[in-house]
C-alpha cells in the first residue's frame, strides 16, 4: 500500500475508534431513531439525527468554500426510483437487525453476538446483490428521475444560500422542539453521553473524513469487499465473473494526494479498503474499549432463536439494500442529506415506510 493510503488508513482507524466510542456511550442508533417513531411514538432520537444533518450541512459547506473538497461528493449519482426502493428495504432490514450497518457494528464491538450475526448477514447480502447487479444497475438508469445529483444542481441555485436556508429551518425546528420537550435524556447508564453531544461529534468526524478523502462516512462498500474476498476464496471462478466485483466505483482525484483514489468492491487492497476497513475495525474497537472500561463488555448469546433469525434476515436485507440504494444510512443521512443530494432524499424517504413495516413485523413475530 502506498504512503497516502497508509496515512488514510491510520486516520480512518482513529476516526472509527472515536465514532465507536461515542456511539457506545450515547447508544447512538439510527435504526432506533426511525423505529421508535412507529413503535413507541418517540421522535427524540430522530431529532438527534437531524442535529447531525444540520451540523454536517454547515461543516460541509464551510469545507467546500475553504477548498477542502468538491461537491457533490464522489459516488453520488442522479436520483432514481431505485434509491427509494433501497431505502425502504434497508428500513425493514435495520429494524429486524436491531441496528443499521454501524449500529450493529458498535453493538457487536461491545460483545453482542446477535449484532455480530447481523454484520455477517450484511456481508452475505452484499454477495447476493452482486448476482443481480447488472440487472439492477440497468433498471436504476431506466428509472432515473433527473440528470442532476444535488438540489443546487437541479435548481440552478448557488449552494451557500440553500445551506443558509436549510440550516436556518433546522434551527427553527430545534427551537420549537426545545420549547416542547427536553433535549437532555435522563439516562442511568454509567458514562452516558447526551445524544445531542454525540450528534455534533459524529458530524465533526464526518467533516474530518470529507476533508481527508473528499467523501463523507460510509462503510458498506467495505462490507461488499469482504464478501468479494470471501467469494474469491470459496468460489473463485464464479466470483471472478461477477461485474460488481470487477469494476472500480471510486475514481477520484483529491487535492491532497498526487494520484486518484481508486477502489471498488472487488478483492483488492485499494482506496476503499484503506478508507472503509479501518473505519469498520475502528468503530468495533472504539465501542469495545468503551464497554471494557465501563465493565460492560460481555459476550451474550443466550437469546430466543427467532431473534437470531431476525437479525440474520435483517442483516441480509441491509446488505442487499445498501447496494440497491447506492449507500447506507450514514452515507445518505449523515452525508448526502447534508449536501442536498437528491438520491439521499429518496433513500431517507424510503426508510420511513421500511421502518414502519419492520416495526410491525418485529413487534408481532420477533419480540
Amino acid at each position: 500500500m502506498e504512503s497516502p493510503l497508509l496515512l488514510i488508513t491510520t486516520l480512518f482507524l482513529a476516526l472509527g475508534v472515536a465514532a465507536g466510542w461515542i456511539m457506545h456511550r450515547s447508544d447512538f442508533c439510527i435504526a432506533r431513531a426511525f423505529r421508535d417513531l412507529f413503535l413507541f411514538g418517540d421522535g427524540f432520537q430522530l431529532r438527534m439525527q437531524l442535529v447531525v444533518v444540520a451540523a454536517a450541512m454547515l461543516l460541509f459547506e464551510l469545507g467546500r468554500l475553504a477548498g477542502g473538497f468538491q461537491l457533490p461528493f464522489p459516488l453520488f449519482g442522479p436520483p432514481s426510483v431505485t434509491h427509494l426502493v433501497g431505502g425502504c428495504v434497508f428500513g425493514i432490514g435495520m429494524v429486524l437487525a436491531g441496528g443499521c450497518v454501524v449500529g450493529t457494528l458498535y453493538k457487536a464491538g461491545a460483545g453482542s453476538v446477535p449484532s455480530a450475526m447481523a454484520v455477517l448477514g450484511i456481508v452475505l447480502g452484499s454477495a447476493l446483490y452482486a448476482e443481480m447487479h447488472p440487472t439492477w444497475s440497468a433498471l436504476a438508469g431506466r428509472l432515473s428521475l433527473a440528470t442532476a445529483t444535488t438540489l443546487p444542481q437541479w435548481s440552478g441555485m448557488a449552494p451557500t444560500p440553500l445551506v443558509a436556508v436549510g440550516f436556518g429551518l433546522c434551527l427553527l425546528v430545534f427551537r420549537r422542539w426545545r420549547k416542547k420537550s427536553d433535549w437532555r435524556r435522563s439516562a442511568f447508564a454509567e458514562g452516558y453521553l447526551q445524544p445531542w453531544k454525540a450528534a455534533l461529534l459524529i458530524a465533526l468526524i464526518g467533516g474530518i473524513a470529507a476533508v481527508a478523502v473528499g467523501m463523507p462516512l460510509g462503510i458498506t462498500t467495505g462490507y461488499s469487499k469482504i464478501a468479494g474476498w470471501a467469494g474469491r476464496w470459496m468460489a473463485p471462478e464464479h466470483f471472478a465473473g461477477l461485474v460488481f466485483f470487477a469494476s472500480d466505483s471510486l475514481d477520484y482525484l483529491h487535492p491532497l494526494y498526487p494520484q486518484p483514489l481508486r477502489g471498488g468492491a472487488g478483492a483488492r487492497l485499494d482506496a476503499i479498503a484503506a478508507i472503509q476497513w479501518p473505519l469498520i475495525g475502528g468503530i468495533a474497537l472504539g465501542s469495545a474499549a468503551s464497554a471494557l472500561i465501563l465493565g460492560e463488555w460481555h459476550l451474550r448469546w443466550q437469546i430466543p432463536r427467532r431473534q437470531y433469525l431476525s437479525v440474520l434476515c435483517g442483516g441480509v436485507l441491509m446488505g442487499v439494500a445498501a447496494r440497491l440504494g447506492a449507500g447506507c444510512t450514514i452515507w445518505h443521512l449523515w452525508g448526502g442529506m447534508a449536501i442536498f443530494a437528491l438520491p439521499s432524499f429518496l433513500f431517507v424517504a424510503g426508510l420511513f415506510p421500511g421502518a414502519w413495516l419492520g416495526s410491525r413485523f418485529l413487534a408481532r413475530y420477533v419480540i
Partner: protein, 96 residues
C-alpha cells in the same frame, strides 16, 4: 419472554433481557407492566429487569414513571438492574 416469579413477601418478577436485540427490553418491560398493573402499583410486586441495553436505562424509567410507578436503577455485574414497583416518588439518583 418468561417471567420468573420468586415467592417473597413482595413478589419479585424477574426479567433477564441481557443480550437481546433492541427494542426487546422496552417492549418486554411494557408488556409485563401491563400484565401486572395492579400488584405493581400497590407495591405487592416488584418488576426486576436485568438489561445490558444502555438506552433502556433511559427509556424504561421514563415510560414507567409516566405510568405512575416508582423506579430505581442500579448497575450490577456489568449490566443494569431496573426495579419497578409502587407509586411514583421523586426521581432516584442517576449517574453523573
Amino acid at each position: 419472554m418468561a417471567v420468573k416469579d420468586t415467592p417473597m413477601d413482595n413478589q419479585r418478577l424477574e426479567l433477564d433481557i441481557r443480550g437481546q436485540i433492541c427494542p426487546s427490553t422496552l417492549l418486554t418491560a411494557l408488556r409485563t407492566i401491563a400484565m401486572h398493573r395492579e400488584p405493581l402499583r400497590s407495591g405487592q410486586q416488584v418488576l426486576a429487569i436485568r438489561t445490558d441495553n444502555r438506552d433502556a436505562t433511559a427509556t424504561i424509567p421514563a415510560a414507567a414513571r409516566n405510568m405512575g410507578y416508582h423506579v430505581e436503577v442500579e448497575k450490577e455485574d456489568g449490566a443494569y438492574l431496573i426495579l419497578i414497583g409502587g407509586e411514583a416518588s421523586l426521581p432516584s439518583g442517576c449517574w453523573p
